[in-house]
């Protein structure tokens, strides 16, 4: 299913309007939870790390560590898990409901390939939207960190931002924006797979929805380990 969703991009018919609708739903729709969560995660990180750095008189390092942790790790992974919670479940329940009410069969009966109409637009939209959501999550996380450091650690905002930006290099950004593309692929294909393999009517739809969120979240965390190892290896070799 995952391979077919990519293969469908090479040949027609393509459903660009459906992909745009999904981008709106997945991208714009997930914005509030990603931004709110990002802000508080950034702030909490400053509080947790800042208290340790203050003990050694190095409170200014907080900006560095928060920026690296957010961009490399927390931003992509937490955004992936948040969007998995919202969209893997949404995709699984939508497609599962369509399956049990014979809408998928109706689509096939009218000459439409469901993998092109239902799967590919969702996979494409998630793969493209997740890096953008991650970028916003990172920015808002740093903003939250800045607010916390100003009010809690008495650091200057300019100093925080200067250190945070200087701490990041190209390899960090590459890692931070490659991961969400993989996570997007995972969460969309898991949602589609669980939705289109529903067994047992409406009860089955509920089960598939839960399974989609759990499986997508676990796979994202597991994939994070391998992607981090790969990114660090490539970072050492290339940059």
């Amino acid at each position: 299913m995952a391979a077919r969703s990519v293969k469908n991009l090479a040949t027609g018919p393509r459903y660009f309007q459906d992909a745009l609708d999904q981008m709106d739903d997945i991208g714009v729709g997930s914005l509030p939870i990603v931004l709110i969560s990002g802000f508080f995660i950034g702030a909490v990180m400053v509080l947790q790390t800042g208290s340790q750095f203050t003990r050694f008189g190095q409170a200014a390092l907080t900006g560095d560590i928060v920026a690296i942790a957010l961009v490399r790790e927390l931003g992509p992974t937490l955004t992936g898990i948040l969007v998995a919670g919202r969209c893997s479940s949404g995709i699984a329940s939508e497609l599962g409901s369509m399956l049990v009410t014979e809408q998928v069969d109706a689509m096939r009966a009218m000459g439409t390939d469901p993998s092109r109409k239902l799967i590919t637009p969702r996979v494409l939209a998630t793969v493209l939207m997740l890096p953008l959501l991650t970028a916003l999550n990172d920015f808002v996380g740093l903003l939250g960190g800045c607010v916390a450091s100003v009010f809690s650690l008495r650091l200057g905002a300019v100093e925080f931002w200067t250190r945070a930006i200087k701490a990041l290099d190209f390899a960090d950004l590459m890692q931070g924006f490659t991961k969400p593309m993989v996570y997007g692929f995972i969460l969309a294909t898991v949602g589609c797979y669980k939705g289109l393999n529903v067994r047992g009517g409406t009860q089955g739809v509920g089960r598939a929805t839960t399974q989609a969120v759990v499986l997508a979240s676990v796979l994202i965390i597991a994939a994070d380990l391998f992607l981090t190892k790969l990114a660090l290896y490539l970072g050492d070799k290339l940059f």
Binding site: Q103, M110, G111
Partner: protein
């Protein structure tokens, strides 16, 4: 509108043919060696208890399922050996009315009916009048902007019929179109199926548990000139020589064809199993 049957009759042989078809799942075979054929313009009424394989027969005819064994031929194509891509283009000539309508619930009624035309990239200027025409046919032209959830069960079935006829199919497959409906709404649905048959000359497979649906199709027809349903004169068929647009019955029992014949044979049967359908 050009009668769809014109296309169907250009193919030699039956519109639908099953040859020793088996279909099974984990729990065993549901269909066991089913063989029948439906000539163009004929209506075949499939009767049987719940789970006897009526819906599966329709899904096999539409290529939505593949038989475990045997051959299914539709409009001259071996459906059972075709790839999904080839089937997608064949299905453009087949209309399917699902049991619960299977309308796309996120689209309006108009968008549902227009779905197939948009898939075929028909010009928008052409789509609008054709959708109106199809909705007028089922007398629901005022519902074009409504969502399926705002319609009653009977109205949803009628929209489903409008959606199935929008591209003038050669064959229409009806899966229990009157199941769960009140008698008046059921009569409306059967009248529509009758009009579709008599106005456009489509070949039809109708799965149902209601014998009266089949008898209504056999004993009544839509008079195109008078524009209403009239009782078929007993002499009509021999007189007109229209044997091809007859209505036949087929009864399933335990995955096999138990009875196949015309309405007179069924109504005069002494078989206890068949008599249960006549009560």
């Amino acid at each position: 509108m050009t009668p769809a049957a014109a296309t169907a009759t250009t193919n030699s042989g039956p519109a639908v043919a099953f040859d020793n078809v088996y279909l099974g799942f984990d729990e065993g075979d549901i269909l066991r060696g089913v063989s029948f054929s439906v000539p163009a313009r004929e209506t075949l009424v499939l009767l049987g208890e719940t789970g006897s394989g009526k819906t599966l027969t329709l899904k096999l005819a539409a290529g939505l399922l593949k038989p475990t064994r045997g051959n299914v031929s539709v409009l001259g194509h071996q459906v059972s050996s075709m790839s999904e891509k080839e089937l997608l283009s064949l299905r453009e000539r087949i209309g399917f009315v699902f049991q619960e309508g299977a309308l796309f619930d996120s689209m309006t009624v108009g968008e549902n009916v227009a779905y197939r035309l948009r898939e075929e990239h028909v010009k928008e200027t052409e789509i609008e009048p054709r959708v109106q025409e199809a909705l007028q046919f089922v007398e629901l032209e005022h519902t074009a902007d409504q969502l399926p959830s705002e319609l009653s069960g009977g109205m949803r079935r009628r929209v489903s019929i409008a959606r199935a006829l929008i591209n003038r199919p050669d064959i229409v497959l009806y899966d229990s179109p009157t199941a769960g409906l009140d008698p008046i709404t059921s009569q409306t649905i059967i009248s529509l199926i009758m009009r579709l048959r008599d106005v456009y000359g489509v070949t039809a497979l109708l799965a149902t548990q209601r014998l009266q649906d089949g008898f209504a199709l056999a004993n009544f027809c839509f008079d195109k000139e008078a524009k209403h349903v009239v009782r078929v004169s007993p002499n009509r068929r021999p007189k007109d020589g229209q044997t091809a647009d007859a209505t036949r019955f087929m009864v399933y029992k335990d995955g096999r064809i138990y009875f196949e014949g015309d309405p007179q044979e069924l109504s005069s049967t002494k078989d206890p199993y068949l008599r249960r359908f006549l009560v």
